[in-house]
Symmetry: C2
Subunit: 329 residues, 2 copies
């Protein structure tokens, strides 16, 4: 009887490549043709084998993000899909809207081998549902278990923003954030920012607009309100505003413009993410740019290693850089 190994040998490709062709995964057109020719030449019976192979692995990975409205999440998913496809995996996308129930459904799929693994930006309390043997890569967030965490260098990001404000003579700065207060890398953005400012004698405060990760209309209104009430004698009391994301920074810039406050002359703004207008234009604001493509590569690299039962590092921290988007001097 002809086996999958015979097909691989005849086609001059690996057994994995034949398996991918049988399962309609992406394979280089050239290799696909070789495999199809070998299958025809040898008269290989596809179906039974294909099903046998499928039972072991689904070649499907799920990514959990809060939404695809924030362009940072959309870019991350874009690159994760691209890198996964290149190694023969398909991608299920779960927009959790920070709903823990939706996230749990996908964790259960992993437990039942309906997906091979998970990549997650999650802010839910799901420590107790994770198990050590699920291939799981976390972005930014730490868990009770030693789970592989990929992030940008948030500590460095906070320091770069602080240094920019110090170097340009700011005297009274503020960090504006919202999002989870669960233990994670992103908390370091504000922490190191305020520490560096204070050490340099610059007055620094922090404003926390709540635990919701997605910036809702209500939260934007709260930020607007806060800015309106931060005026004394016709002038904004802050001369430097650092925000936890570029989406926040764009909201701040829009409101200050409406209030006829000059940017960057009267107040400077630095966001976090390094997003460009429609992802192709200029930087939306001055920002700390995360290496989103490298983060996607690191996530997929770690996850595939886990699926293949190979050892992985506990954490991957990737460098950030300051980018000038016209809202700083």
């Amino acid at each position: 009887m002809i086996t999958i190994r015979d097909v691989a040998a005849a086609a001059g490709v690996s057994v994995g490549t034949v398996s991918k062709v049988l399962n309609n995964m992406y394979v280089k057109p050239n290799n696909r043709k070789k495999v199809e020719t070998a299958i025809q030449d040898l008269g290989y019976q596809v179906n039974t084998y294909a099903q046998g192979l499928r039972a072991q692995q689904t070649y499907t990975v799920a990514v959990i993000v809060p939404d695809l409205v924030n362009p940072f999440f959309a870019l991350l998913v874009n690159y994760v899909e691209q890198v996964l496809a290149a190694v023969g995996y398909r991608l299920l996308v779960c927009n959790s809207h920070c709903n823990a129930d939706r996230e749990l459904a996908y964790i259960n799929m992993a437990k039942q081998n309906k997906v091979d693994g998970l990549i997650s930006i999650s802010y839910s309390n799901m420590d107790e549902y994770l198990e050590a043997d699920i291939p799981f890569v976390s972005i930014d967030r730490h868990f009770r278990y030693p789970i592989c965490c990929v992030s940008s260098d948030n500590d460095m990001g906070g320091r770069l923003a602080a240094q920019k404000f110090i170097d340009t003579g700011c005297r009274n700065v503020i960090y504006i954030r919202n999002g989870s207060r669960l233990l994670g890398e992103t908390l370091k953005r504000g922490k190191s920012f305020m520490e560096v400012c204070e050490r340099a004698g610059v007055n620094a405060s922090g404003m926390d607009f709540g635990e919701e990760t997605t910036l809702t209309r209500q939260q934007i209104r709260k930020i607007y309100d806060f800015l309106e009430h931060s005026v004394r004698d016709g002038r904004l009391i802050y001369d430097g505003i650092f925000t936890s994301s570029d989406v926040h920074a764009v909201a701040v810039e829009r409101k200050l413009r409406d209030m006829n406050i000059r940017i960057p002359e009267d107040v400077q703004i630095i966001g976090y993410d390094g997003l460009r207008v429609l992802n192709t234009g200029d930087y939306a604001v001055s920002s700390i740019a995360q290496p989103v493509k490298d983060m996607a590569v690191a996530c997929v690299d770690a996850l595939v290693k886990m699926i293949e039962k190979k050892p992985v590092e506990d954490g991957v921290i990737l460098p950030v850089r300051f980018v000038d988007g016209g809202t700083t001097r």
Copy 2:
């Protein structure tokens, strides 16, 4: 023996809801609890039934888009996922990068019942691979078969852009596009734009930058080059530029600003899509806004009907509107 119907009756929910719980689909937390309680109370054996149910349907749908870098595609996928999740389906995302092989792999999955259906923005020549009985919803694109096509009112979009230029006294306008020339709704953008302009005595031309759907760096450079060579006696020869997407319009605006051409005083720009800066700020440019959320709802509605063997309309065309993003007078 306890059946799934007994569980549904005891929990006071439909058989479909029990099936979703067994398959880890999203179910309202309240209903999930009722089903789990009924399963325990009755001592229902989950696994065998769950597998039996799964064989019929995967509750998984694939969406094919060129990429998630263009925010229009990312928003569309965001809403498609949201609407699908509400009716108990998961979403596989395929970024085709206009590679027909990748699209075909997902069409084959549908043929083999590995996904229940497809929603596709495709510009590949895949007419011959589609079959009448695959649940398939196309966005913008027509096929040889009568396949359900969801789009915005591209004819209206072209007319709105033309009317704006006519009303503000433009004399020499141009339509700049790239993307597939295969039969589809988007071709109407330029066609009706030019017809309306010409009928009003406004000189209108069209510039086609090739078949690639994604605006690559090379294509942006071509647009820059074209604009640089469209200057006579220190002035741009066009006073109105309409583009096939907002991403194009942002590229045009950036280049003209670098050339010290005043927008909207010397030249007006209108894009297509209606995207906001980082999806939350101001409109990136003046534009024809597509109702992206309504389009997602229409796609899912039609697809689920097809999966359930119910009749659907051949085409859904949704209204567009002009939005002022500061690049028009």
